[in-house]
Structures are given as structure tokens and as C-alpha cells.
């Protein structure tokens, strides 16, 4: 048994960690588990979705083999513990890139499928699961299910975004997208109100593949947030780039480095730095997609008590009012985050029964864990999302009330038929009791 935390570092409960290293023996090892287990990739989800305190974790990082790659079609097949970083290192020199990438390249392919992750190009390419052609699922009863959009489609719909609860994903085949090189053409615009944000989003969605906004959520001016809208497209340049240097947060500070003062100062500086200067630029893909990956273990800056991520989506009809209400609630609380992100989703139907995106606007925030006051704020935000008919992103959640799950994810009941009785997570126990 050893302590395991998710990326939010809110807990460090003991787990019996079983390191899987061969697909050929994985089925036997999970079927022989004395207690319920849970697949665990690279531990980049934030809340309790990847945790199973007191139980078994099946660690998949040792399942890190590529099985096939066709550089004419961009179809790649690999074991579930391969990280997107490894996929990019292999595929980019041959002219391919993940069709969808989240904000970190340190996630495993299995984790990307199980959380059906999305990225800045959701309005174009949907979620990660939209590009999966097939996957292999091992169940604790010893069975093996190969599924895809046209083969065992219900198992596929349950497993994509299925939070690891339908079985252990051991491999996946998915499509990459062609790119000329590692560069992204970017544009940025400052905005001073939600109205301006939505106007920028609408105007950019056809011309730009990637769009995302950073907002200064600590300071509202006349009830309006200010922020920076970023848009990007893969550039035509084939020039290669020098290798990227990374730094590490070298120790765990005894108190969070994120507090009201540092947050306000950071947000003001960040806004000023981006408001001025050139609007158009060419960026390497790493700082564009993964600004935090160059600071290894950045999650330590929140100190020993960790932090909460909160990411919700509210439906299009209610988006402007609901986002404004959320931002006001945060401003009133005096808590807030460095990395508040706002993005519009398209109405593209998601693959998974529990996939997160829906037509509307998503807001992502992080809050240092200050105890009851942070929980109270999060409950308030949940209530706003609930009233607006929205939902929370399980990959980042640690606080969602059960009612919000069933209202936000109407297919949950149907999904539960596909659960593996030998699998349980802290999140599944918190939300549905088992």
C-alpha cells in the first residue's frame, strides 16, 4: 500500500498499486483482484475520478507500446499507457498530430478515452473519442471486448468517457490529423465584457481551429470580466524547433503560493502583458497547447492542502447569464484562480454516454483548498450550473452533488448497466454509493 494523489493533491490515501506491464497478462491480473480496482494512467485528472482509496489501482503506464502506425493515413494503434507526449514525439516528425489534445500532453491514451477529453478545437474536431476507431476492454470477469463506433457500439459509447468504470482499456486505435510542422499561427484580442467574448468566439469559430480565452476572474469592472481571447491554426512552416526546456517546482511549499494578493497581481500583469504588443504571432505547439507542462509539478504551488478544479458547461440558451452569475459568485467570495478559462463548445453530439461537452460555454477555474469557505463557494457554483441546466466535468471534479450528476448526465442510469462490478472509484462511491 502506498499513498496516491490525483493532480489536485486533495488527498493521499493508501492504495494497493498493481503495476501492469504486459497486455497479455493484464486480464489475468485484474480478474484475480481480491478487492475492487480502478485503472490509473498518469494521474493527471484532478479530483477523485482516478482514485480508489483503500482499494486497488491498476497502473497502466507500463503498457506503453506502440502497436501500429500508418504514416499515409495517420491511424495509430498503441497500448493504453502511452502518453500523448510519446504520441507527439513519434508522429510529429512524420507530419501528424493528435486530432484533439487537452491542456497537458502528460495524459495517457487510456485516460484520454476514459475521460473523453476535449481541447481548444472542440468546435471543429469534437472530443478525443470522436477519433477513436477501436479499443480493447478487459473486464474483471475475464472477458475481453473489442469495440468501436460500428462494433459493439453500446460498449464503445459506455467506455468512451466511462471514467474507467466499464473495464480496463488496454489498447486503442485512433486517427491523427496531418500537420506541416510544430508551429501554430496565433492571434489574440483583449476583451472587456462577456458580450465581447461571445462576439469574438462567434467571429473566430469558422476561421480558427483553436480558440480559448483566459479571463481575470478576480476583478469585475461594472460586473464584466476582462480577458484575452486566443485563436490558433496549424502553420504551414516545416521548420523544426529547438528542444523545449522544462523547469520543476522543486519542493512543496508549506503554504499555498496562490493567495488573493499574488492572484490579483498575476492576473493584472498577465492582462497587461497580453493586452499590449503584437496581436499576431507564430508559436511553438508546446507553449500554445501546454503552457503549464514546462513547469513540472506545477500543482505543488497550491501547497500541502492541494486545490480544487472546477469545470462546468452551461447550455447555449443560458450561457451568458449563467457565466455572469458564476463570475459574480467568485468575485464576491474573494477566491479565484490564475487559470480561468472560458471557451464555447459546438453542438456536435459527443460519442460517450457520459461525455462532458454540450452546445454552450465552458468555464474552468482552480481554487486553492482553504477548507469550508472553498467548499461553500463550490457548492454555490454547482447550484448555479444546476439551475442553468449544465453539468460538471468528472475529470476535474471532487464536489459534484449526486443530483447534479443525474440531471447533468441523463444517460447515467443506462450507463450503469455497462459498469464492471469489480471496479469502483472514490468518485463512483461518492456519487452513486458503489
Amino acid at each position: 500500500m502506498r499513498p496516491v494523489s490525483s493532480w489536485g493533491r486533495l488527498s493521499r490515501d493508501l492504495h494497493d498499486v498493481v503495476e501492469l506491464d504486459q497486455v497479455s497478462s493484464a486480464g489475468q491480473r485484474i480478474a484475480g483482484s481480491p478487492r475492487p480496482g480502478l485503472p490509473f494512467g498518469n494521474g493527471r485528472s484532478y479530483g477523485d475520478v482516478c482514485l480508489n482509496g483503500g482499494g486497488v489501482l491498476w497502473a497502466t503506464r507500463g503498457l506503453d507500446r506502440f502497436l501500429a502506425f500508418d504514416d499515409r493515413t495517420g491511424v495509430i494503434e498503441c497500448e493504453a499507457g502511452v502518453t500523448l507526449r510519446e504520441v507527439i514525439d513519434l508522429a510529429l516528425p512524420r507530419g501528424w498530430f493528435p486530432a484533439v489534445t487537452p491542456g497537458t500532453q502528460w495524459v495517457t491514451v487510456g485516460g484520454a478515452v476514459a475521460n473523453d477529453v476535449h481541447g481548444k478545437n472542440h468546435h471543429r474536431h469534437g472530443c478525443f473519442g470522436d477519433h477513436v476507431e477501436s479499443l480493447t476492454l478487459l473486464r474483471t470477469d475475464g472477458s475481453r471486448i473489442v469495440c468501436g463506433p460500428d462494433v459493439e457500439p453500446e460498449w464503445f459509447r459506455a467506455t468512451v468517457g466511462g471514467l474507467g468504470l466499464t473495464g480496463l482499456i488496454v489498447d486503442a486505435r485512433f486517427r491523427l490529423r496531418p500537420v506541416a510542422g510544430p508551429w501554430i499561427e496565433c492571434e489574440r484580442h483583449a476583451f472587456q465584457s462577456l458580450e465581447q467574448f461571445f462576439a469574438l468566439s462567434d467571429a473566430s469559430s469558422s476561421g480558427w481551429e483553436y480558440t480559448v480565452s483566459w479571463i481575470d476572474c478576480g476583478t469585475l469592472r461594472g460586473g464584466e470580466p476582462r480577458g484575452i481571447f486566443f485563436a490558433g491554426n496549424h502553420a504551414a512552416s516545416r521548420a523544426t524547433a529547438p528542444p523545449h526546456r522544462s523547469r520543476r517546482v522543486p519542493f512543496l511549499p508549506p503554504v499555498p503560493l496562490v493567495n488573493r494578493l499574488s492572484m490579483r497581481a498575476f492576473n493584472a500583469l498577465y492582462y497587461r502583458a497580453n493586452q499590449a504588443g503584437s496581436e499576431r504571432s507564430t508559436k511553438h505547439y508546446q507553449p500554445f497547447f501546454y503552457p503549464l507542462d514546462s513547469l513540472l509539478e506545477w500543482n505543488r504551488i497550491y501547497g500541502p492542502r492541494g486545490f480544487y478544479q472546477f469545470q462546468c458547461v452551461v447550455p447555449k440558451a443560458a450561457q451568458q447569464a449563467a457565466v455572469r452569475e458564476l463570475l459574480q459568485a467568485i468575485a464576491v467570495s474573494g477566491q479565484g484562480s490564475f487559470l480561468s478559462v472560458l471557451k464555447t463548445f459546438s453542438g456536435r453530439p459527443a460519442v460517450g454516454m457520459l461525455s462532458f461537452p454540450m452546445a454552450g460555454t465552458t468555464l474552468a477555474l482552480d481554487f486553492p483548498n482553504l477548507g469550508p469557505s472553498t467548499l461553500a463557494l463550490l457548492q454555490r457554483l454547482c447550484a448555479i450550473v444546476d439551475t442553468a441546466g449544465g453539468r460538471l466535468y468528472p475529470a476535474k471534479d471532487a464536489v459534484m452533488p449526486p443530483g447534479l450528476l443525474s440531471r447533468g448526465y441523463p444517460e447515467w442510469q443506462h450507463f450503469s448497466r455497462f459498469r464492471d462490478p469489480g471496479i469502483s472509484s472514490q468518485m463512483s462511491r461518492r456519487l452513486v454509493g458503489h
Partner: protein, 246 residues
């Protein structure tokens, strides 16, 4: 020219990390291992990562009668090898090996007897080829017997001495023999250990193994600091050593 590489115990974590480095440089590789499924998975991985050609061969280390046959077939595949890695081995349960003699000798069979048999055949092949390098995974555990793992250590001591003699014999024939002494490596073989600051990933060890096979000489501790740790451990007087818990 990309290397031609032969790997025994190819599904071990260190061996696969070594194979990946060669694959990235478009080597042609023969993987030898005991079980077909994991061997084929590794072969696919190396092909995707850039290997020019990957072949596989099944062999049980204890099946000494088949060693020569597998070696002959492998040499026929690519017309010789520039680098050979011998990486099979097991970590016996020390306590069990103290209770039962058959446990003690069983692991000795895998870690020493089969390796000596394999190295004998390989040495003759490379000697007649007149070039190339053989790296064999030994262990600092073989430098001095300690209560915590002397069954394992005794077998590795045999491998170290055997490789030393082979190096001496083949030096004049243009063949290099490398004794690799990895410290604590985080692999499936050591899954049950609590990992501390001295532990490294197999990729770190693989870097040293490939460098050794390319241009190295003699006994290679990896990471390098184990050379000094073991030098000190060897110097401790026996009267003091018997009281230490290492």
C-alpha cells in the same frame, strides 16, 4: 550504418528500453524471449519506433540444448551482429531460497548457468565474426555477498567473473565484452520494493548500455555512482561487514 542487434531476455524492461534506442536509429533487431505474446508486442513497438527489421525467436533460458540453434538462426537472419545484449534473469525470494535448497539453485540456473552456456556459444560466434560487442547484465549484488540477497548475488558473481575472463580472451580478437552493473532500477522485477532516491528508470540504464555497446569498455556501473558505492562496500573489513545490515 544502422546496427544489427541481438537481444536475449527481450521482454525485460531494461532490454526493451535498450531495443527502443536502437530502433530509433533504424537498427535491425532480433528479439529472443520465452513468451510469444509479449515478445510480439515489443516487436510491434520497435517497428513503429523506426527499427528497419525486427524478428523474434522463442527460447527458454533453461533449454540449453536449443541455445546454439537459436543463435545460428539469428546470425543467419542479418548475417551477423554488431551488438548483443544478454538480459534475462530473475530476482529470487531470498527468504524462500534460505529455506529450500531447490529454490536457491533454481534461480542460480536462470541467472548463472544458462547465461554461462549462452555466453559460451555467443563468444565463439563473435570470435569467428571478428568484431562486435556483447553486453551482459550482471549486478553490484555480485560484488560482495550480503544477507539480503546473496542467492541472487552469488549467481551474478559467477556471471561477472565469467564475463571478465571472456573479455580477457576475446580482447585480441576484436570483440568487446561489457559487464553491466545496474543499481536500483524501477522495473517489474523490483515492483515490490519501496523506491528511494537512488532508484532510476530503465531508460537511464539503457542509455549507458547503448553507450557501452557502441564504444565502452570493461565493467560499467549504471548509474555511474554505483562504482564508488560498491568500491566502498568492498573495502569494509569482514569483521565489520558481518555486523552490518545491508
Amino acid at each position: 550504418m544502422p546496427a544489427r542487434v541481438l537481444v536475449f531476455g527481450a521482454t525485460s524492461a531494461i532490454a526493451h528500453a535498450v531495443s527502443r534506442r536502437y530502433a530509433a536509429d533504424h537498427a535491425s533487431i532480433v528479439l529472443v524471449g520465452r513468451r510469444a505474446e509479449p515478445l510480439e508486442a515489443n516487436a510491434s513497438d520497435l517497428r513503429v519506433r523506426g527499427a528497419a527489421d525486427v524478428r523474434t525467436a522463442l527460447l527458454d533460458a533453461h533449454d540449453l540444448a536449443r541455445h546454439a540453434e537459436v543463435i545460428t538462426a539469428a546470425f543467419a537472419a542479418f548475417g551477423g551482429f554488431d551488438a548483443v545484449l544478454v538480459a534475462w534473469g530473475v530476482l529470487p525470494d531470498q527468504a524462500a531460497s534460505e529455506r529450500a535448497a531447490e529454490v536457491a539453485v533454481a534461480s542460480f540456473d536462470t541467472n548463472a548457468r544458462s547465461v554461462i552456456a549462452l555466453l559460451t556459444d555467443l563468444a565463439n560466434r563473435l570470435e569467428s565474426q571478428g568484431h562486435g560487442a556483447i553486453a551482459v547484465l550482471s549486478s553490484p549484488a555480485g560484488d560482495r555477498g550480503r544477507a539480503s540477497n546473496y542467492t541472487y548475488g552469488a549467481a551474478k558473481a559467477a556471471v561477472t567473473v565469467f564475463a571478465s575472463g571472456l573479455r580477457n580472451r576475446l580482447h585480441a580478437k576484436g570483440v568487446r565484452v561489457l559487464t553491466i552493473e545496474p543499481g536500483f532500477v524501477d522495473t517489474p522485477m523490483t515492483a515490490s520494493f519501496t523506491k528511494g532516491a537512488l532508484w532510476v528508470r530503465p531508460e537511464r540504464v539503457a542509455e549507458d548500455v547503448v553507450r557501452a555497446l557502441d564504444t565502452g569498455f570493461g565493467v560499467i556501473y549504471t548509474p555511474w555512482f554505483w562504482r564508488w558505492i560498491m568500491a566502498i562496500i568492498r573495502l569494509v573489513p569482514e569483521r565489520l561487514f558481518v555486523r552490518m545490515k545491508l
